[in-house]
Symmetry: C2
Subunit: 270 residues, 2 copies
Amino acid sequence: MVNNLNDRPIGVFDSGIGGLTVAAELHKRLPAENLIYLGDTARVPYGTKSVAAVNRYALESALFLLNRNVKMIVVACNTVSAVALPRLKMLLSVPMIGVVEPGVRAAVKSTKNDRIGVIATPSTIASKAYQTRLQEALPNATVFGRSCPLLVPMAEEGRVDGKIVSQLLEEYLKSLRKKGTDTLILGCTHYPLFKKTIGEVMGDTVTLVDSAETTAEQVEATLLREGLLRTHGPGMVKAYVTDMPRQFDKVARRFFGAPLGKVERVTLGD
Amino acid sequence: MVNNLNDRPIGVFDSGIGGLTVAAELHKRLPAENLIYLGDTARVPYGTKSVAAVNRYALESALFLLNRNVKMIVVACNTVSAVALPRLKMLLSVPMIGVVEPGVRAAVKSTKNDRIGVIATPSTIASKAYQTRLQEALPNATVFGRSCPLLVPMAEEGRVDGKIVSQLLEEYLKSLRKKGTDTLILGCTHYPLFKKTIGEVMGDTVTLVDSAETTAEQVEATLLREGLLRTHGPGMVKAYVTDMPRQFDKVARRFFGAPLGKVERVTLGD
């Protein structure tokens, strides 16, 4: 019976497809685990919407996954993690992990001068979730936040390098570079796609923190602690989306780095 | 009694706030008319979503307006006009006008060399609505379509000029300029905000067609024909949105050019 419980999938959800970078890291670290991915592509992006809307969408996504009998939920979206996770944790009893906490841990481990930058969506920056938690973990830290509203639509368009991307990132990151940050949190699951250009703009001495890897570590630790780890494999990955945009397959492949099988369309809330 | 019928408002809907440019033109031309504006800001943008999703959202918006007793519906969104309007007209009996037809009329009137460009969202371009109707109206026309996926998020961010906008528009419009088009349809209600830079990139000899004005003309003609014109004023403007994003007021003011009064949040479909 314990084995049966452990065979239940891990649910992963995001506003769209960015969270596939987290799912990919989970699959790499925990290849025996079954994964269910849900992307709310019908209502993407979340990062420019209100807290009330994000709360409602997040609860609908979590309930969808619970109806599919998941043993744990990974909130692979920074906006949801920053804005809606505390309320979700209060409402639901399943173990839940967001991407903000792991990003904070990794940044605290990395910084030498206690000057940490965070780039994220307007909603994540406005929530001050990263700023607050970084300061709790490292009271001497000086944290600089910057919202980058155009990076999500650019990533969804498949535009992740070139002159326009470089200039936009130069504009977004200039002030963070000037402040002498030695660590920059990529506070949105789409942003690792821009890692190369972000690295060029920030310079070699700045460490880029992508929370996908530390999130996977934390998921493994939680499963171990709760006795929920699946030990035999291989795990299956099943993806659901709320809309099937024209370019989904192409973009999803770029994010996940592996074929996903048939993606199913579902309706949430409405 | 006839007067009472004519006092009913005109309903205007859009995926977000772009359609306010059309509502503003209606208010200018028909100041006695009452207007109800609905922006589906909780699910914006439509232009990168599937035909099935756009059809569903459009029907929900139209039903919302019908429940508020509108005498006519103006679809102030190019994506909905291109993708969902024929089905809406089949399902509903209220007079309905989209923005594609007026744009086509204005372009046909303007062109001298029968080479017409259209810029719009990916969904509008993929629907070929402009291309098909232009060729019906002007069989000798050569039509060049180009999707510009980043212009909507840029307009919503308030970024409507500057170096990055110029470079992006240069990239989007280069091929249309080279083809020698003398008329360019701005096939998205957000695009008039970029008129200055688009004009600089295309050059003085190219006429930019913004369908807001011709849509207002066609609305007036339809109201006259149906005996639905309101003759005494002034008209009231009431706006509803499905989400209240942080910057709504500021951006809406830029679009409408006049104060809108209290904007109300409503829920559609879900």
